[in-house]
């Protein structure tokens, strides 16, 4: 029993249950003292969930050191090298452990969110309602969106945490305790988000627009609270990333010698540092509207529902760049390795990430062309949106230039990189019709948007994400993943996904509306839906193969401790897996990062002991 309690995660969960109970108890107690009816479910569950999350981070020990500092005691970093695999189940200050924790949480969330999608995808295989009620369908559909988004945010955090200190030659993140704290905040946040299913669910879609969200079941409060807490974690994590990348670089690593992935991560962190506050605020305002009767978004009280959409999209549009910029960075990082050529137009690619991020702040209104916002705003938002194509085009141009006449090899990571480029191109090309007001008024809220969005997410995040796992798995474990299983995963997933998203767009043009549980048989799209369902299950099967591969290879994979990809990046110049504080000897950057194939060029030079 005591042994079980010593595992951080178990302790945290027990404390979360305790905190939830205390929160519900406090609220009920106050209501009894005030002679109100004792039980008010909504307020009780909100306070309970909030306290539960705070108790979780306390229980697991993520704030122990801060409490000690506040109490005037000295804190020391524990020596983690003897902890073994238990490091992964509790608070660890090593950025590599935190990165892998993020990675596992991300995979868990995405499997959960994906299984939601499979469930309602099966429901859609035929017209009429098969086995779900309308409310169940709506809840699964809404949660699929938000669970996947949190999963992607966590996955982005995984690679930023794992790679950046290694790539820039730092011992660790700038604020290791804050790093652990931001990760452990995401765990109770995910639990709260998923608990919305048990509290009546909600039927608003992942956007949670009022007035509908103002009268949805209590589940919506858990949704709002979970997302707010997870958002807080990403804010703190991006603060950490920016500080680390600006302050902890190795000697000689000037701005234009940074790995492209770090540039992408900086642009990403800039967005999540600032804009995330506004989605948190918009969600909290709806929470307050429901709890205290405030009339922000209630037209009957003079409120303005459109205001919510502005606040919401000010984050939620740049958020898609948060999802894709690190992924595009991984593509730029891996292409030169497998094409054995210098990255084409390094400076332009580096700056294009910031271009995308900055323009991304000015385009949110394109989600609201049909919302009833002031008409004169539509045209500037249309042009600013189309402008995003310019820096994105720079990236595509660079990728083509890098591939051009390269000595390309095709191990599994490269396959995923190439699929990522193709699928992201499909997603990019289907964007301008949605950005153009005239066509968007026809396409808005159809499956065309769904297809476009899934293309950008898979191309910009999912495929590069898998490429990165296959690529850096040896760095994490010292063993490489099985190539054959990896190729099966790829050939199951990539073609099926392209069929799936193309069919989404086709049915959208034929009149399939998004977010609805049923469709008219006379639209003649039933067969298309069946194809989509089959394709969806093939994608899921591919991911199952991947999970089996990861578990199997962790113990039995081919041993790979050296520089198996012939990379120039500093983390591959030392044996895998890395020790607790990364490099035994510091290194100095003496050349350009991506000069693959140029004879005699050196990127990093390790300093000898004096």
């Amino acid at each position: 029993m005591r042994k079980l309690y010593s595992i951080g995660l178990i302790r945290g969960l027990l404390w979360q249950i305790l905190g939830t109970a205390i929160g519900i108890g406090i609220l009920t107690g106050i209501r009894i003292l005030l002679h109100l009816p004792a039980w008010k479910a909504e307020s009780a569950f909100v306070l309970g969930a909030l306290l539960g999350a705070l108790f979780f981070v306390y229980g697991i020990g993520a704030v122990d050191d801060w409490i000690k500092v506040a109490g005037g005691k000295e804190v020391h970093e524990p020596d983690e090298s003897s902890w073994g695999s238990m490091r992964y189940f509790g608070v660890s200050l090593d950025h590599k452990v935190v990165g892998i924790q993020y990675l596992v949480l991300s995979l868990v969330l995405m499997v959960v969110g994906g299984s939601f999608a499979m469930t309602f995808r099966t429901e859609l295989a035929n017209t009429g309602m098969q086995f779900l009620t309308l409310m169940e369908y709506n809840t699964l559909m809404s949660l699929h969106g938000m669970v996947m988004i949190i999963g992607i945010l966590v996955g982005v955090g995984a690679f930023m945490n794992y790679l950046i200190p290694m790539m820039i030659g730092a011992r660790d993140m700038a604020f290791p305790r804050l790093n652990a704290f931001s990760f452990w905040l995401a765990v109770p946040a995910s639990i709260i988000l998923l608990s919305s299913m048990a509290l009546g669910g909600f039927d608003t879609g992942w956007t949670g627009y009022p007035p509908l969200s103002a009268r949805a079941p209590i589940g919506i409060q858990m949704f709002f609270l979970g997302v707010s807490l997870a958002g807080m974690g990403t804010i703190l994590s991006s603060l950490n990333i920016i500080t680390t990348a600006l302050r902890m670089r190795a000697r000689g690593m000037t701005g234009f010698r940074l790995p492209i992935f770090v540039w992408g991560a900086l642009a990403t962190s800039l967005i999540s540092l600032t804009a995330t506050q506004l989605i948190g605020l918009s969600f909290q305002m709806v929470m307050f509207q429901r709890l205290f009767g405030m009339g922000f978004f209630d037209p009957a009280k003079g409120g303005n529902p459109i205001l919510f959409q502005h606040l919401f999209w000010f984050y939620s549009h740049p958020a898609v760049y948060v999802f894709v910029l690190p992924g595009l960075g991984i593509i730029s990082e891996l292409l030169p390795v497998f094409a054995r050529k210098p990255l084409y137009g390094y400076k332009w690619v580096a700056l294009s990430s910031f271009g995308i991020a900055l323009i991304g702040f000015l385009v949110w209104g394109h989600h609201m062309f049909a919302s009833g916002m002031a008409q004169y705003l539509r045209v500037p938002f249309m042009y600013s949106t189309l402008l995003v194509a310019v820096p994105t085009g720079v990236k595509f141009f660079s990728w083509l230039g890098t591939l051009w006449r390269g000595k390309i090899v095709f191990p599994v990571p490269m396959l995923f990189v190439l699929a990522g480029i193709i699928v992201f191109l499909l997603g990019g090309l289907t964007g301008p019709p949605n950005a153009t007001v005239a066509t968007d008024l026809h396409l808005t809220d159809t499956y065309f948007i769904v297809g476009h969005f899934h293309d950008t997410m898979f191309g910009g995040y999912v495929f590069p994400f898998f490429a990165a796992i296959y690529y850096w798995f040896p760095k994490m474990t010292g063993r490489r993943m099985n190539e054959t299983l990896g190729k099966i995963h790829f050939w199951l997933m990539a073609p099926a996904f392209i069929v799936l998203s193309s069919m989404m767009m086709r049915t959208g043009l034929l009149g399939m509306r998004r977010r609805i549980a049923d469709y008219d048989p006379t639209l003649n799209i039933t067969n298309d839906h069946r194809v989509m369902t089959v394709a969806g299950f093939l994608v899921a099967l591919g991911i199952l193969v991947f999970i089996i591969n990861a578990f199997w290879s962790r113990r039995n994979g081919e041993i790979a401790t050296g520089n198996i990809w012939n990379s120039r990046s500093p983390e591959w110049q030392v044996p895998s897996p890395m020790p607790v504080h990364n490099y035994d000897k510091p290194f100095e950057v003496v050349g350009e990062p991506y000069d693959y194939g140029l004879p005699g060029s050196v990127y990093v030079k390790f300093m000898e002991e004096e």
Binding site: T243, L278, L307
Partner: protein, 253 residues
Amino acid sequence: MEHPSKSSTLQLGIFVLGALAVLTAVEFTIALTVNIWQVLAVIPMIKAGLVFYYYMHIYRLFQADTEVDRESFAYKLATNRMGLWLFLISDSFIFGGLMISRINLLGLTRPDLIQVLGLVVTSVLLISSFFANRAEVSMEYGDHKQFILSTTLTMSLGILFLVGVLGVEWRLAPFGPETNLAGAVFYVMTGFHAFHVLTGVIFLAIVLRNGLRGLYTAEKHWAVEASVVYWHFVDVVWFFFYPALYLIGTLAK
């Protein structure tokens, strides 16, 4: 870093406080007489600029020396400063979002609040910022006695502000959060701000307790600097919220 003499820092602190007080008085007078919202929007920016530079020492961010040893205190201090300021930038977006909501929902109207009380709590917070500055400067000169006194005063004034807003204004306001839009905006803006004041008071209390035990020295007092900079930031937020809630526009129905 060359240090100006101790008395000159006191003079500077008083001068900044005076300038802030004059600007607040100007704000108040303009609001009661001509009520030009453009002026009422610009004055807080000037006030914020003064505090950013003279009280929060924003220029220290750009003095970070990259050549010193990575493990040295000076290098870590500069890193911590950057982290704190990034946090403040992030936090200012939530207050910016509240301001935008207020502008969108209320426009050129304002909630029906007690003007005198508004001026009093604003002055309390201004003066607390002065003492926060004194606390930090005293610590820089190793004057523990002055530091303890100033921190205690800052905290007390902060608590007084909370009593003024939560204890008096919230109770006396002729509307509740559910009555009308003005009420909703007023409670959410003051609520968010008061939460930050409360965390600032707690932060200062921790610093005061550790200061009493003599944990800070003239050279090493990052916690003091951080709590004081955070306190000034909360004050700057109020510079914008005060005219937005009390001064700009006509009374909302």
